[in-house]
Amino acid sequence: MKPLLECQGLTKKYNNFYALSNLDLTLERGQIVGLLGPNGSGKTTLIKLINGLLIPTDGRVMINSLAPGVETKKLVSYLPERGYLNDHMRVDEILSYFVDFYDNFSIERANAMLKDLEIDTHARLRTLSKGTKEKVQLVLVMSRDAELYILDEPIGGVDPAARDYILHTILTNYNENATILLSTHLITDIENVLDRVIFLQNGQLTLNATVDEIRSKWGKSVDALFREVFKC
């Protein structure tokens, strides 16, 4: 079976700064992958390149053997680290928007999650708190039957109780053949759900291993290894 994500010599340069340098990476289906690294390590750049939001300086990125484009955007469900919805829209208008544009969006699943979270679908986004907006965005992203979910800091701005709900939501709302690529600094919160971790440093891949390998080879948790590798 062809890999879900393949990066070959992927490079992104801003003036004289390499945000990503000659990155080779392959991800298979059916895993939850933690994309970890300190600030400025290239995590968001990699995510943007996968989503076609940046043009690579060199190398290539393929999703299901296709370069980023219309077909890959149908397969990838992306949650950016920032609010990307029009604040003037009501939640139900945003749901209609997703129904209109994504064939694989399940309105029933979205409504069920919004009900669980007690989010009023008639409310305009600008009237909701930052945390609630983040929950709405996550609901939208996880209500798609995608093959690759890319979640950039999905739990960064919410309280610990909501974090549990969000992680539960992620785990219970994805197809087991799909892959989740999850970028976060809150490693301890997600460590138990990860199958594999990728460490990025200065735009380069420094580790690509399963969580079991890390525990058996280094005898450490992912969080402990991260702190050791990226010690200031």
């Binding site: 801003y14 076609g52 955007k73 990838v76 950016p80 990307y84 209109d100 544009f101 994504y102």
Partner: protein
């Protein structure tokens, strides 16, 4: 997909568009009832000339303001939807960059055309009172002779030219925003500076072409047209302007398309 993109682009500015044009239509109806209908053209010209000039100056400002407002609406939608945080959603929709661009062009044409037509209808409301039409009937023959065509035909020609001109200006505005996004910072400022630079280049090119085609001020064709109806020179200039607009529009279109396809760089 294109239809859906256009639908949401139109939905975005609907409220502002309605408010702006409701103000315009209301002002024209009130202007007609409270001012134009009260004018007595049988009086001496000096009796109503000054208030009439002041009145039409105010309305010229209003019409210009509405046109400017629509341009701002288009630019804001293009910029916000494609190059701010909203771009993270827009660019991850299953649509090509070309579809995104065409959605913005089509919605822009619909907004601009609707605005030009509503403005024309509003102007008609303002000047179609019985007292105005009767007064105009007395000078209609002179005006027709001076213009070289009846005023209705002149008005329709201006309307068609305005509609055509808006096409070029929409794509040109989008090009300026897209070029502004190529800079690492101060992107809105860079887009505005780009607009002024491109406008200046186009002005210089227009004047150069007018002289090259012997229709610039002071040229022999210009001087020869002085004895002819006012529209003769205007139509000649409009033809050249139309060709220029078409060239600018095509060049701007390929410029924006190239930037959107090859230089997308969301910060």
């Amino acid at each position: 997909m294109l239809g859906k993109l256009v639908k949401y682009d139109l939905k975005y500015g609907m409220r502002i568009f309605i408010v702006l044009h409701a103000i315009l239509v209301t002002a024209c109806i009130l202007g007609r009832i409270l001012f134009m209908n009260q004018l007595d053209f049988n009086l001496k010209l000096e009796a109503y000339l000054s208030p009439l000039i002041l009145f039409f100056s105010l309305f010229l400002l209003l019409f210009t303001g509405i046109g400017f407002g629509i341009n701002i609406l288009l630019v804001a939608r293009f910029y916000k939807n494609l190059y701010t945080d909203e771009g993270y959603l827009t660019w991850t929709l299953p649509a090509t960059a070309t579809q995104q661009l065409w959605a913005k062009i089509i919605s822009g044409i619909i907004w601009e055309f609707s605005s030009v037509l509503i403005s024309a209808a509003s102007l008609l409301i303002l000047v179609s009172g019985d007292n105005v039409t009767e007064a105009y009937a007395q000078v209609a023959a002179d005006v027709t002779k001076s213009l070289g065509m009846p005023i209705t035909q002149f008005g329709i020609s201006l309307l068609i030219y305005s509609l055509f001109g808006t096409l070029g200006s929409i794509v040109m505005l989008y090009l300026c925003v897209a070029i502004g996004q190529l800079f690492p910072g101060h992107r809105i400022l860079c887009a505005i500076v780009t607009y002024f630079i491109l406008s200046a280049i186009i002005q210089v090119l227009s004047f150069s072409l007018m002289f090259a085609f012997n229709i610039g001020p002071g040229t022999t064709a210009y001087l020869a047209s002085r004895g002819m109806p006012a529209t003769h020179y205007m139509v000649t200039s409009f033809r050249l302007g139309g060709v220029m607009s078409a060239i600018i529009m095509i060049a701007a279109y390929f410029g924006v398309q190239y930037i959107m396809n090859k230089k997308l760089n969301l910060s």
